[in-house]
């Protein structure tokens, strides 16, 4: 039996003496959203990190159950808002798989181009935000300069700058804007020219390297057991690029390398993302002059009906593996939808990666996980 004072002691949540419990978030400059971390500190050293979720839960999975197979895709742009195109693509692929729709070549290539542009834009934003977490404000403006060009390209073709709804089952909603090729080529030239600025400002900076090298290490075995994917897993040497393992759309006809690193620390995750941007540029360069002529959308029925059964598709977003799992009863709306979001699994490894390090290291580790909170909560 507890005496009354002991019970009170337990409910305060403060453990043994010398521990300090801090709430990082839900409003905090480093969490980039409404993530809530309860951190137990011993001085400056972190003993335990406990992520609390649910502040931006909009029950997207439940909403999708009442929307038909054309409508539900639009909601998914609001999950991982930095890879809106790739979310849509995953859903479209899943529906196409269920209905066995043959997507025209042109649409496939357009999808890959858009997905890679999105990946670059997402990594650019991440780069700026992570540098900001480490206390350097300036890289943010430099990365946004290039990201702005991509959002302009998106705006012309898709009509939106952030939550794009462009990919539908059977292809894409509209054809490309006539300036698309010209503008993408301009962007590629500018990006290649300016990428050295990040190298000067961030990669080769002594303080930056000291802050990230050897920080937040995760071994390949742990990365697999926590379900990490995307650049987080690849920085630990886990082969996990779905564009290579299970090519979808037009990824089987382009040449690119899966970027791997074996160090598993924050700096490796940084390097993997920077190199991934260069690989995305490589893919874009291969496809931009070879967009096949033809339809941009397959001819589909006005009302889509998935046959009874379970369907799963997975794609590589900027953050890792996004899985879409649809259970259909044969009607016009899904019976159940489940999204496997990359951010959720990556966040679960945070305690393992950052426990025992300093508060500053937590920001360096969390920054390189590239968390998008609406993607984790959905």
């Amino acid at each position: 039996m507890y005496t009354q004072t002991e019970i009170i002691k337990d409910t305060t949540g403060i453990g043994s003496e010398g521990e300090l419990v801090i709430n990082v978030g839900p409003q905090h400059p480093a969490t980039h959203g409404v993530l809530h971390l309860v951190i137990t500190l011993n001085g400056e050293t972190i003993k335990k990190i406990e992520p609390h979720l649910g502040y931006i839960h909009r029950s997207i999975e439940k909403m999708c159950e009442s929307l038909n197979y054309r409508q539900f895709i639009y909601v998914t742009s609001r999950m991982d808002y930095l890879s809106a195109h790739i979310n849509n693509q995953a859903c479209a692929l899943c529906v196409e798989k269920g209905m066995q729709i043959e997507v025209p070549d042109r649409a496939k290539v357009i999808r890959v181009l858009m997905a890679e542009l999105t990946r670059i834009a997402s990594h650019e934003l991440w780069l700026g935000a992570m540098a900001m977490d480490l206390g350097a404000f300036t890289p943010f403006f430099y990365t946004f300069r290039e990201r702005e060009l991509i959002t302009d390209i998106m705006e012309e073709t898709c009509g939106a700058r952030l939550t794009m709804n462009y990919m539908t089952p059977g292809g894409v909603t509209f054809d490309l804007h006539e300036d698309f090729q010209k503008k993408v080529k301009q962007f590629v030239i500018q990006f290649k020219e300016k990428v050295t600025e990040f190298e000067d400002l961030v990669t080769n900076n002594v303080i930056f390297r000291n802050r990230t090298e050897g920080v937040g290490i995760i071994s390949p075995a742990d990365a697999i057991s926590y379900g990490c994917s995307g650049p987080v897993a690849r920085a630990s040497g886990v082969v996990s690029d779905l564009r290579k393992i299970a090519p979808y759309d037009a990824y089987d006809r382009v040449e690119f390398e899966e970027v791997l690193d074996t160090r598993g620390d924050s700096f490796a995750r940084y390097i993997v993302r920077v190199k991934e941007m260069m690989q995305s540029i490589r893919i874009i360069e291969q496809l931009i002059d070879n967009i096949p002529e033809g339809d941009f959308q397959a001819k589909t029925k006005a009302v889509l009906k998935l046959p009874k059964g379970e369907f799963y598709s997975r794609v590589e977003t900027a953050r890792g593996e996004l899985g879409v799992y649809i259970v259909s009863e044969g009607g016009t709306t899904p019976y159940r939808i489940k999204f496997r979001s990359p951010g959720f699994s990556n966040l679960s490894a945070l305690d393992h990666m950052a426990s025992g390090s300093k508060i500053g290291d937590l920001m360096a580790t969390m920054g390189t996980l590239d968390l998008v909170i609406p993607d984790i909560d959905r």
């Binding site: 206390g135 404000f137 403006f141 303080i207 300093k358 937590l362």
Partner: protein, 358 residues
């Protein structure tokens, strides 16, 4: 050569000629206090605007350009907003210490103004232990920061204050040691004499490599002492939201903010006085013509030019580097800067004894 010395001297003579000595001294005090407050206000406005413009230039954007011509009145508008804002005091804060802390920080900044020679003959208090006074008083600002962090009853503030305590106390050492090298070379603690000793060349150039080393260490140490990035761990926005002044708002926050900029000005002023010759014009050896032209530039322009150059340098750091981690910060001081500056001091002593400097 235009000089403020004649103005100050004529005021001094006029006051002592027309009043009793006590009254004259008192009225001089009043004039100086008014001038100091005016300088503080002007510096606050200029430095904040300068920081924003420098940051904007480095970050490929324009910076404030809406309020007044070229955004000149932006800081005035911000100050007005801060004055009108409610100054909240947290519920369980130590109210007395919480209110006292910003004034203490501000007071330290004001006291440091005393021994600085702004121009030829334009110095509030030419104390004979000027250098000692500066290093002694500048250590006091940590008390205000600790007080603010402790009294706020906020865990972020507490962490920020503790970081700041460790940081300022550590970096005080190498700042002091690098100042000492100039004292050894000059043989005087009086700031006016240190300036006078640089008539034929600044210590940065006269003292060979050791002077350059101590100048670099001085700049690093004062950047840390004034809590500026990359050493802004006490504030560390992405880690501790705002560190020791998390709970401060309104005018109390403005005082912390202003004190930061005044402190930058003062440490840069001292740096300019010790290493760059204070108000002394740039003289090169026996180039009589060149030296003569340089003499035509007023001494106040020289002093403020040098000081603002150093301020620009410190702002440049802030907008280029990421922040250090607390253990790296202390490692840098205790494992690198302190041993180097100690060795450097010995080297300078040898140079001074053997008379190897120019």
């Amino acid at each position: 050569m235009f000089s403020l010395e004649s103005i100050t001297r004529s005021i001094h003579h006029w006051l002592y000629g027309n009043m009793t000595p006590t009254l004259a001294l008192l009225s001089e005090c009043v004039i100086i206090i008014l001038l100091a407050i005016a300088l503080f206000a002007a510096l606050g406005l200029v430095l904040v605007l300068m920081e924003r413009k420098v940051a904007a230039h480095i970050q490929i954007r324009l910076g404030p350009n809406r309020v007044g011509p070229g955004g000149m009145l932006q800081t005035a508008a911000d100050t007005l907003k801060l004055i009108l804002k409610e100054g909240l005091v947290p519920d369980k804060a130590d109210k007395f210490l919480f209110n006292l802390a910003p004034f203490l920080v501000m007071m330290v900044a004001m006291l440091l103004l005393a021994p600085i020679a702004f121009a030829k003959g334009f110095q509030i208090w030419d104390i004979n232990i000027g250098v000692l006074y500066v290093s002694a008083i500048s250590s006091l600002s940590v008390i205000g920061v600790l007080m603010a962090g402790w009294a706020s009853n906020n865990k972020y503030s507490l962490l920020g204050a503790m970081r700041s305590g460790a940081q300022i106390v550590s970096y005080e050492l190498s700042a002091g040691l690098s100042i000492l090298t100039i004292v050894v070379l000059t043989g005087s603690l009086q700031l006016s004499e240190i300036v006078a000793s640089q008539e034929n060349g600044w210590w940065l150039f006269k003292g060979h490599i050791p002077a350059i080393i101590s100048f670099v260490i001085f700049i690093i140490a004062v950047t840390a002492e004034t809590n500026r990035a990359p050493f802004d761990l006490a504030e560390a926005e992405s880690e501790l939201t705002a560190g020791f002044h998390t709970e401060y708002s309104g005018m109390r926050f403005a005082l912390f903010f202003l004190a930061e900029y005044i402190n930058i000005f003062i440490v840069c002023g001292i740096g300019a006085t010790l290493f760059l010759g204070g108000w002394m014009p740039l003289h090169i050896g026996h180039w009589e013509g060149f030296n003569h032209i340089m003499d035509y530039i007023p001494s106040s322009v020289w002093f403020f030019g040098k000081t603002f150059f150093l301020i620009f340098l410190i702002m440049w750091f802030r907008w280029t580097f990421p922040r250090l981690r607390i253990d790296q910060l202390l490692n840098l001081e205790w494992k690198y800067l302190l041993p180097i500056s100690m060795f450097n001091l010995i080297l300078v002593t040898v140079i001074a004894i053997l008379g190897w400097h120019f």
